[in-house]
Point group: C2
Chain length 333, copies 2
């Protein structure tokens, strides 16, 4: 069997035409007669010819690969987001490099560098852990950028957001109505913009409800199960009579519930818990988790659609933030 893969030149030779004609025929571009196009295509098929996207990108100065960067693929929120985004891209024939940064700013920068070395032009960044200025600088390497849940702006940057503030207000209001007065916040990573927005909503709603905002009730933590567990322990130490904990996201909330259980607290009788995102497991854990529901596949699909529109140069209206919806389950029932 012929080991060497066939190139455009092989097809041209076999078809008795020039390589430009093959290029035009294979890419469906005008300037080829119908008969010639069909003939070239069937010969290409017979030879197993597949265009080399790298060479094509190099020559045409435009890539068919995209990138997506986020902190943690083991978090179902990002996994589902990335799934929706990559599926949307693939429906258009575009491949995507998926970069997991493990919550590390350094690794996030190195992901951007790698993507730039691949001469990727369009990327989605979800849940950046970089400061706005560092992020802004890093993003200059890309022609089109979609930021999910981040406020950094720029000429080449579009933003797709969840209305974290509003969601948080819903959560706090619900807890206040339940009679909770000692509401703590397992706040996630300080560098996360959504963490900051959730904190702002938390504070606004507390004050609006006539309660004092107490910075000591805000405990930052890593956004995973273990971080939630540690946050719960820290909160209990500061205020053993805490009666509600809102968590940065659902996996943190799950950790918080474990931490509370370890300390012998009943949920929700002693302490109510609310998460954010409504990952599929939120409804399944014990007790089932109240949370701020976000349509994650829609978010991912939207982010990619916006990126594709930027790429096409299609003008697009600024997006309204997605409104989360409070889902009350056992953990705050």
């Amino acid at each position: 069997m012929g080991k060497r893969r066939s190139t455009i030149a092989d097809v041209a030779r076999a078809a008795g035409v020039s390589i430009m004609t093959v290029s035009r025929a294979v890419n469906g571009r005008p300037g080829v007669g119908d008969g010639t196009r069909d003939k070239v295509r069937s010969i290409a098929e017979a030879l197993g010819y597949r265009p080399d996207r790298r060479a094509s990108a190099l020559a045409s100065r435009s890539s068919t690969a995209l990138g997506i960067v986020f902190p943690d693929m083991a978090n179902p929120f990002f996994a589902i987001l990335a799934k929706a985004a990559t599926d949307t891209a693939r429906a258009r024939g575009l491949n995507v490099f998926v970069m997991n940064t493990d919550e590390s700013p350094t690794r996030e920068l190195s992901a951007f560098a790698s993507l730039h070395e691949e001469r990727i032009e369009g990327i989605i960044v979800a849940g950046s852990r970089l400061s706005p200025s560092k992020l802004g600088t890093a993003l200059e390497a890309f022609a089109d950028v979609v930021l999910v849940n981040n406020s950094t702006t720029g000429p080449n940057i579009a933003n797709v957001d969840v209305d974290d503030r509003s969601g948080m207000i819903q959560a706090v209001t619900h807890l206040l109505a339940k009679g909770c007065t000692r509401i703590a916040f397992a706040a996630g990573p300080r560098v996360s913009v959504s963490a900051q927005r959730r904190l702002a909503g938390y504070r606004t709603a507390l004050v609006g409800g006539g309660l004092a905002f107490d910075r000591r009730r805000v405990v930052k933590c890593t956004p995973d199960i273990e971080g939630g567990r540690r946050a719960a322990a820290a909160i209990l130490e500061l205020d053993p009579d805490v009666d509600a904990i809102i968590a940065y996201n659902d996996i943190t909330a799950i950790g918080v519930m474990r931490g509370l259980a370890d300390a012998g607290r009943r949920i929700p009788e002693d302490v109510a818990v609310i998460g954010t995102d409504d990952i599929p497991y939120a409804a399944l854990v014990r007790p089932s988790l109240s949370t701020l529901r976000v349509d994650i596949p829609l978010l991912g699909h939207t982010a990619m659609s916006v990126l594709l529109a930027l790429r096409d140069g299609t003008p697009l209206a600024p997006m309204a933030a997605l409104e989360p919806e409070l889902v009350v389950r056992e953990s705050s029932g």
Copy 2:
């Protein structure tokens, strides 16, 4: 600001050397003096030069990008596997295209085609949904292949496996010891090799335990929560007195538990349930799920390490299959 990104030629000009010297210096290859190397590197840095990997791949006929293909990124098993695999690759400076096939053989083939167009040389395929012959043909396009949980072999193919058969025997034996006699299997997709292996183990253990193997107790299903729910309903219809259900994987098992709950069955009093994989949520759902524990990050890391070894031409001993470990929790306690 200079919009055009700098190329190797810009660096060469600025440093007063040839582009080959820049190439050698930047890539840390021999044939450059220490002083020259440092000087070139600092000038490259100052100009913001980043090598173009596509051009480099084209010229050197070797790519620094890899691929990973699997059915469902929303399944934590694959998300965690992919995370471990991509992290291992990135530690070596390699980027990876992540392809989600949505359980569709057609999309799996199209993923391979896209990867081939990117002239990817090494890929990991986990949980292929293709027949051995179609898979074998599709994989000829790649120089190095690692198959996770698939028996297809070939000159360029390495296999990394979980010992599904053994795991299944542990599960059935445990249920037999509990006194279960009507043990059904929510079997997952028929095309999945691990489903076939789990079925074989199920059958062997049943017969070994003195029970008859009844094909009607094997109900295939999509490997997700909804599939598990439907499988449970189908199993209850065929045998209302079923006393145990083993599921293809943990998310299927979670669906099975929901289906049983919908039908008013108590778990484990009426029906015991056992899953496979031990995804992080298995321990957290209600009731907590007995499962066959697999070290998923290790599996992903191993798969990528094997791929990198193949790429390097490092000879490697054939791998022993990873042994799953039965974790008994409430669902079968």
